[in-house]
């Protein structure tokens, strides 16, 4: 696979190092700044090209026409979007990935045909959310094109699902509980008979729009039951 990385900052450099280690991949990094290009060349060699990754002539010169994947990771949303659009529409690159700085731009990028967007802000927010005690369902990764995503959630002590076996749960379809990490840190691949315990961490594949159902089932104390109880008392 031929992969072009636009932007040789920290993200681009790290990415290039990882990709370079993979067999059967050809990688080129395009960096705009002269000084930075020299630094990167010392480390990565000839794969680093100096130039403007949004410019047709430069992209032409590195053979973008035969590129399988273009990844734009500069710190500038404009550069990243335009690099992907030029790659897609002028060079017919089959797959483009862009880093997005302003989360508000994610929708625009998707609308304009960027296949995948990576938002640092969103990732940071998700991580912080995951450490909050009242966090519920944390989306980890959208699965490309399927409408599914991988989520992380904790079994709340009084939730409807707590104490039940997985086959008893009415999960939103299609869903798959892929991994359970017990409170003592033991990871487990669950079966239908696995009983959910309070404090279990669950990694599941679910439809992107199923968050509210999952939250109600697994990650929220069953307040409805409590309310019903209160009503009974009142009678």
């Amino acid at each position: 696979m031929y992969i072009i990385v636009i932007g040789g900052g920290r993200v681009g450099r790290g990415l290039a190092l990882e990709l370079q280690a993979l067999p059967d991949h050809e990688v080129v990094v395009i960096e705009r700044a002269d000084g930075r290009t020299k630094e990167l060349r010392d480390e990565l060699g000839e794969m680093v090209v100096r130039g403007d990754g949004t410019e047709v002539a430069l992209l032409e010169s590195v053979g973008t026409g035969r590129c399988d994947l273009l990844i734009a990771v500069t710190n500038n949303d404009g550069h990243n979007l335009i690099a992907c659009q030029v790659a897609k529409h002028h060079f017919n690159v089959p797959r483009t990935i862009a880093r997005v700085d302003d989360p508000l731009n994610e929708r625009l990028f998707r609308l304009l045909g960027v296949d995948e967007t990576i938002s640092a802000a969103r990732a940071v927010m998700a991580q912080i959310e995951a450490t909050l005690p009242e966090h519920t369902v944390v989306p980890l990764l959208p699965l490309h094109g399927s409408g599914l995503q991988i989520v992380d959630l904790h079994v709340q002590p009084d939730s409807p699902a707590c104490g039940k076996a997985i086959h008893e749960l009415e999960l939103p379809q299609p869903s798959l509980i892929s991994l359970i990490v017990r409170p003592d840190g033991t990871p487990q691949i669950p079966t239908g008979d696995t009983v959910l315990q309070p404090g279990d961490e669950i990694i599941a594949v679910t439809p992107e729009d199923a968050e509210p159902q999952l939250r109600a089932l697994i990650a929220t104390p069953d307040t409805q039951e409590l309310e019903t109880g209160a009503e009974d008392d009142a009678r």
Partner: protein
């Protein structure tokens, strides 16, 4: 017509003062307040310091009520990004984008922006000034 102009350089300021003079309601956006010095005294439009590639500054400039958006900064990619936000997110009917690079001007013209390239225009004018002939005779301009 409500018009938002991003970039108050020579072209941005002259365009702003011209459309304001023609009775349109204009807001000029620029990241550098010093650039507003280029606007003529008695300029009737609004001036706003802000980055036109950010949604909130576009909204402050009245992009939701705008019938036209012109991106006239020095940066091709900035202009293209802001124009596409105006066109696709805020549904501004007329979006005009200055793109120096003739290739990008052509590509994004095909993708629905009204782009123009000062590079192409300048080349033709230089040719015409030199030979005094019809500018299209034998001019080779990239991207056309």
């Amino acid at each position: 017509m409500n018009i938002v102009i991003m970039g108050c350089g020579r072209v941005g300021s002259a365009t702003a003062s011209r459309v304001a003079g023609a009775g349109h309601s204009v807001t000029v956006l620029d990241t550098d307040p010093y650039s507003f010095r280029r606007l003529p005294t008695g300029f009737e439009g609004q001036q706003l310091v802000g980055d036109g590639t950010r949604h909130r500054f576009l909204e402050d400039a009245g992009i939701r009520e705008a019938q036209a958006f012109l991106a006239l900064t020095q940066g091709d990619n900035r202009n293209i990004l802001a124009s596409q936000i105006a066109q696709h997110i805020y549904r501004v009917p007329a979006v005009v984008t200055r793109v120096y690079d003739p290739y990008r001007a052509e590509i994004f013209g095909k993708l629905g922006l009204r782009t123009f390239s000062p590079t192409n225009a300048g080349t033709e004018m230089a040719w015409a000034a030199l030979f005094g002939a019809s500018a299209s005779d034998g001019v080779s301009t990239a991207g056309t």
